[in-house]
């Protein structure tokens, strides 16, 4: 009961927050991307946290989603809402294609194989100019603003769409975690041989997880394309600013927990923006350097993620409430 009140309160605050920011301002943009990256990290958390398979190739699905909906709207005038599901479908197929050969790989080898897959997708998008426009990138065409056309004059609706997406993927994550599939994933993570012997189809469960994560990541790619309006292969298929960043957000926040990716995104995205703002006039790369130092400090301070700070705050809070 108390838990639900807390969750509703957080959602209410998140729902009011965009209204307090200037609709044309800079911070609404930061907020939108924070929510979007939190959702992406949550989707990564399904495979990275629940199945314990550290994917460094999620940009592959993200880019597929961004390109699919944008190409459909450009070439056929199909609404991005529908394009989002088409992208999700292709993202799922891509996830299946990469999951089948990499499934047996563990730890670093899985990470490297998925990283390579993301890079291959980036190269393909750069080379297949007739479809993707190549390195020049694509612009989402302007259409008269309407909800059906997923076109808005301001960023405010995008912030709300990102918020709703975050809520949906968080609910999906938590539902999987508590379901039979969640138990099976924990068993596979802790002892794959024993999991098989007690009747878990480890191959099937891993494939299901990879596909769910791939579908959702691709759908979020459409959300990104609609906010960003312009993108190129090196942005949406980026290893550093998509694949590694979403993994980093989830790991820094607390991998395998529903709150972790949200805490991670609330920290990383605004701090990164702030560093860019404060130090962009300095020497080239200074802001990245400072951001990197902050990350290292945070990881040393909380090796198991921000979730541990959150947990101890909650513990203190409930102790106070009791006394």
């Amino acid at each position: 009961m108390k838990r639900w009140i807390a969750i509703l309160a957080v959602i209410a605050i998140a729902a009011v927050l965009p209204l307090l920011l200037s609709p044309t301002g800079y911070w609404i943009r930061v907020l939108t991307f924070t929510l979007l990256f939190a959702a992406m990290a949550q989707v990564w958390n399904i495979i990275g946290g629940l199945a314990n398979q550290t994917s460094l190739g999620h940009a592959a699905f993200f880019g597929i989603g961004a390109y699919t909906s944008t190409i459909l709207v450009l070439k056929f005038g199909i609404s991005p809402w529908i394009g989002m599901f088409a992208g999700g479908f292709l993202g799922g197929i891509a996830a299946l294609i990469i999951a089948v050969p990499t499934m047996r790989l563990q730890g670093h080898y899985f990470a490297l194989a998925t990283l390579a897959f993301g890079e291959v997708m980036r190269v393909i998008a750069n080379v297949w100019t007739s479809l993707t426009g190549g390195p020049v990138g694509l612009s989402v065409p302007f259409v008269p603003p309407s909800i059906a056309a997923y076109s808005f004059k301001q960023l405010l609706p995008h912030a709300y769409i990102a918020l709703i997406a975050l809520i949906i993927v968080t609910v999906i994550f938590e539902a999987i975690r508590r379901s039979a599939m969640g138990y099976r994933l924990r068993a596979i993570k802790e002892n794959p041989a024993a999991a098989e012997v007690i009747g878990i189809d480890t191959t099937k469960v891993k494939l299901q997880t990879a596909v769910i994560s791939g579908v959702l990541m691709a759908m979020l790619g459409t959300l990104y394309a609609q906010v960003a309006v312009f993108f190129d292969p090196d942005t949406v298929f980026s290893a550093a600013s998509i694949s590694i960043r979403v993994a980093l957000i989830a790991i820094l926040g607390g991998v395998g927990t529903a709150i972790g990716p949200i805490l991670g995104a609330l920290f990383i995205i605004p701090v990164e923006e702030l560093m860019n703002d404060l130090f962009s006039s300095g020497a080239a790369g200074l802001s990245q350097l400072i951001f990197g130092v902050i990350l290292i400090a945070v990881i040393l301070w909380r090796p198991r993620g921000f979730i541990t700070v959150f947990d101890s705050l909650m513990a203190r809070f409930s102790n106070k409430a009791r006394s």
Binding site: I198, I200, T202
Partner: protein
């Protein structure tokens, strides 16, 4: 009625013939002991039965279905599973979750939880249901192994040294449990080094030596078989005195 039929199972590891031409069949509801010196191939044989190891040749029929080449999860669904001698629990999960996960083979989460509590009660570990499996003592973990295997609802249950390091009282409890499982209609294959326990509960004993089946008979027959005494019992009886 034959529930398990094993014919000519052989398996090589490099230069080592771990199993050679093992053949026997088990009628439903028997308690069969599998004994033999260290390295005889008992664990390897169990792993072959549940599909973790593929035999080089031979056939295995579980209740009329051929299981050679099937994946372990398929064999578990058909009704055969085993415990791990070296204990392979989900260490970061609670004892209850360990057992519950096995129950998911045939039930939804809520029913599996109820089944898991029943299984834990049967092995006498209900009181530690919410502890982390990794925090239990070794004998306790072996019993969680048993509860977990049991919760898959097996027809044939393979127990690999679940009584290791138990005190006499606990050992008696596990022996009573094994008998009550047989009364429930489960067929059991039991690997154990403790001779008195195995001689007491088993209807029949198989002796494995260097991967080869040396003897197959009632406890009395096996205990009085000069070949067996020579290969194993003589030594092990002395060791247990």
């Amino acid at each position: 009625m034959t529930i398990l039929d094993v014919r000519g199972i052989s398996r090589r590891f490099g230069g080592l013939q771990a199993l050679s031409d093992v053949t026997f069949s088990v009628p439903k509801g028997q308690i069969v002991g599998l004994i033999g010196p260290n390295g005889a191939g008992k664990t390897t044989f169990f792993s072959t039965l549940v599909g973790l190891i593929r035999p080089d040749s031979g056939s295995i029929q579980l209740d009329g279905t051929s299981v050679v080449g099937q994946k372990p999860h398929k064999i578990a669904a058909l009704g055969m599973t085993k415990t791990f001698q070296n204990v392979a629990l989900f260490a970061e999960s609670s004892v209850l979750d360990n057992v519950l996960t096995a129950g998911l083979l045939r039930h939804d989460v809520e029913t599996a939880r109820k089944e898991a509590l029943i299984c834990l009660d049967r092995v006498g570990l209900k009181s530690v249901a919410h502890k982390l499996a990794g925090n239990l003592s070794f004998p306790e973990r072996a019993r969680v192994e048993l509860a977990r295997a049991l919760c898959t609802g097996p027809k044939v249950l393979l127990l690999d040294e679940v009584m290791a390091a138990l005190n006499p009282v606990e050992m008696q409890e596990i022996m009573d449990l094994i008998r009550s499982l047989r009364d429930d209609g489960i067929t059991l294959l039991v690997v154990e080094h403790h001779m008195r326990a195995i001689m007491t509960i088993c209807d029949r004993i198989l002796v494995l030596n260097f991967g080869r089946l040396l003897a197959d008979g009632t406890p009395e027959q096996v205990a009085n078989d000069p070949v067996v005494v020579e290969a194993y019992l003589g030594r092990s009886m002395e060791a247990h005195k």
